[in-house]
């Protein structure tokens, strides 16, 4: 990656932020992709993927809780860090700046809803669908 670009470069699998650490910044992917992983009982489970332009790490800024997941670069990635204080100061002057962050969070909740309904459907509905398939 050349000099004429913004942010910081991360090699493949490099950790951008850690689950459990305090969230004093958020991030925007400038180039490349990243994987969102949740660590449960020492095992990392993939819970999502991020692409160029995606904002992440904002939940910890809004709810002041430790980071809910680890994010690793998937291939080489370039990521811009956004300061918590600078962001909150700007949102205070211009609340509409938070709109785009809300849009992203809204899309994420929709996706999670869809995934959740898929999981809950499994035991009962899959049996019905299987029965229908058998004729």
């Amino acid at each position: 990656m050349d000099d004429g670009v913004l942010g910081r470069e991360y090699a493949d699998s490099a950790v951008i932020c850690h689950q459990g650490e305090p969230g004093d910044r958020m991030y925007v992917i400038q180039a490349g992709r990243a994987t969102v992983l949740r660590e449960e009982g020492g095992v990392e489970v993939v819970v999502g993927e991020l692409k160029t332009g995606d904002v992440f790490g904002e939940m910890a800024i809004f709810d002041r809780q430790p980071r809910s997941a680890t994010v690793r670069a998937k291939g080489a990635a370039r990521v811009l860090t956004l300061d918590k204080r600078a962001f909150l100061r700007q949102v205070h002057e211009d609340p509409s700046l938070a709109y785009r962050v809300l849009e992203g969070m809204s899309l994420r909740i929709r996706r999670l809803d869809a995934e959740l309904s898929g999981i809950r459907r499994c035991p009962q509905q899959e049996a019905v669908l299987a029965a229908q398939a058998r004729g």
Partner: protein, 448 residues
């Protein structure tokens, strides 16, 4: 009845630089959220893809750390085809010393760009300009760019009208984003805007072609700031771009003598290769810059943005264009387009920029005083060097300098930080030590 934008309303923007393009983008984006169908025309005679004066908006070409972050949240991620160099540090030069200050995260968060197609003597168009890029984003959202210079306006049954040689178009809202280097102000006077023109002074900008490799070796990814005791010079910077260096001198009435004194100073000469004949480049200009705001930037159905209204003193003019453009667009879509609406919702943002500049003047006056009194200047360098040498040290002076030179924080906030007793105590101590000692400051950067 208060005026407001409705489905089918027309908005005309005179000037297609960052202020005009940001306004168009935010207006159309907010209108989309409100299911409001607007028609937006941007009048801009220049072609920003052309090198030299034909496509240039005469500017140092820095997008500040704060603005880079805000734009990223807005979904405007400046691409590598626009950003010629990501800046991750700055170097402070005085007659005797040179010191590097890195960002805490060692991350490139300042964008060095050209506003248009590049300098007059550009050999090959490798990068696009910021103004053209922002204009394209506005066009993608539905704005129409009309390549014409507006020289006549009037009122048509209470609505502003733009008159071109072969056509006329009436608008529900007219937006002035003409900067200070055009005759745009005369248009606003014709419409009866009850405002005093902003005060201006002349800056000096030149582009030096050194080639990417030489620039990388001698200037790196740092902005170079010069604290030199040259009368009338408030701020001097050398900004590395791709193949060019931008030299930017700000102060009161920058003239030939001052420019020569700057280039002849040892602090400047030692930055360049030893065989380099330091002189101004083929492409240079002396643009006017706004140093005091227009007194009233709006009336019914007319609002001024960016440099022709208020901008941040010396630093982050593009950031001020972004802030004023967004505040005006927010007002127009969510409130209305009468003078009362702009007074209530736009004026506070405008005033905050203008009021903050009062602190800027104060800070630059203090800097002049420090530059003229050597022990204080060396105290600044000593204190900064000490902070940079110890990772755990509080970066009080470093942050003040960083925010001041990069435009990353309001002047009021910077000024408040300098009143901290711990800052003042340390500065007094380092200045006293500097007065008692001679020689270079420990921590000086060796390269260059």
């Amino acid at each position: 009845m208060r005026a407001a934008l409705e489905d089918g309303s027309r908005v005309g923007i005179i000037g297609g630089g960052p202020a005009g393009s940001f306004f168009a983008q935010f207006l159309l984006s907010f209108a989309h959220r409100m299911d409001l169908d607007l028609s937006v025309d941007i009048y801009e005679p220049r072609d920003f893809t052309k090198p030299g004066p034909a496509g240039c908006n005469m500017c140092g070409g820095i997008v500040s750390e704060t603005l880079v972050q805000a734009l990223a949240i807005e979904g405007i991620n400046l691409p590598s085809g626009i950003v010629q160099r990501g800046i991750d540090s700055y170097e402070l030069h005085t007659d005797a010393d040179r010191i590097r200050i890195a960002t805490p995260l060692s991350e490139k968060r300042i964008a060095a760009i050209h506003r248009g197609g590049g300098p007059r003597d550009v050999k090959e168009l490798t990068w696009g300009g910021l103004d053209g890029y922002l204009q394209t984003l506005a066009k993608n959202l539905g704005a129409k760019v009309i390549a014409a210079r507006v020289s006549e306006v009037d009122w048509d049954k209470g609505r502003p009208r733009v008159l071109l040689p072969d056509s006329a178009r009436t608008y529900d809202l007219l937006v002035g984003a003409t900067g200070v280097n055009s005759t745009g102000w005369q248009l606003f006077e014709k419409l009866g805007l009850p405002s005093k023109h902003c005060e201006t002074t002349k800056a000096y900008i030149t582009e030096l072609h050194l080639g990417s490799e030489t620039i990388g070796r001698h200037f790196g990814n740092s902005m170079h700031m010069f604290l030199l005791d040259i009368p009338r010079l408030d701020c001097a910077a050398i900004i590395p771009k791709g193949d060019f260096l931008t030299v930017c001198l700000l102060g009161r009435d920058i003239d030939k003598d001052l420019i020569n004194t700057f280039f002849e100073s040892p602090a400047v000469k030692r930055c360049f290769p030893s065989n380099w004949n330091v002189a101004e480049g083929v492409c240079h200009c002396s643009p006017k810059i706004n140093v005091r705001e227009a007194t009233r930037p709006f009336m019914d159905r007319l609002v001024l943005l960016g440099d022709c209204g208020a901008t941040r003193l010396y630093k982050d003019g593009i950031g001020a264009a972004y802030r004023t453009a967004k505040a005006a667009a927010r007002t127009a879509v969510f409130s209305g387009i009468s003078a009362e609406d702009f007074q209530r919702h736009y004026w506070p943002v405008y005033r905050s920029i203008a009021n903050d500049n009062r602190f800027g003047w104060l800070i630059f006056a203090v800097v002049h005083w420090i530059k003229a009194f050597r022990p204080l200047l060396r105290g600044v360098i000593r204190m900064t060097a000490g902070e940079q040498a110890r990772p755990s040290a509080a970066k009080r002076m470093s942050i003040v300098l960083w925010d001041m030179f990069t435009g990353s924080a309001p002047y009021r906030e910077i000024f408040a930080r300098t009143l901290d007793p711990r800052f003042l105590g340390r500065f007094a101590w380092e200045s006293a030590l500097a007065a008692a000692s001679r020689g270079k400051v420990k921590g000086e950067v060796a390269h260059g």
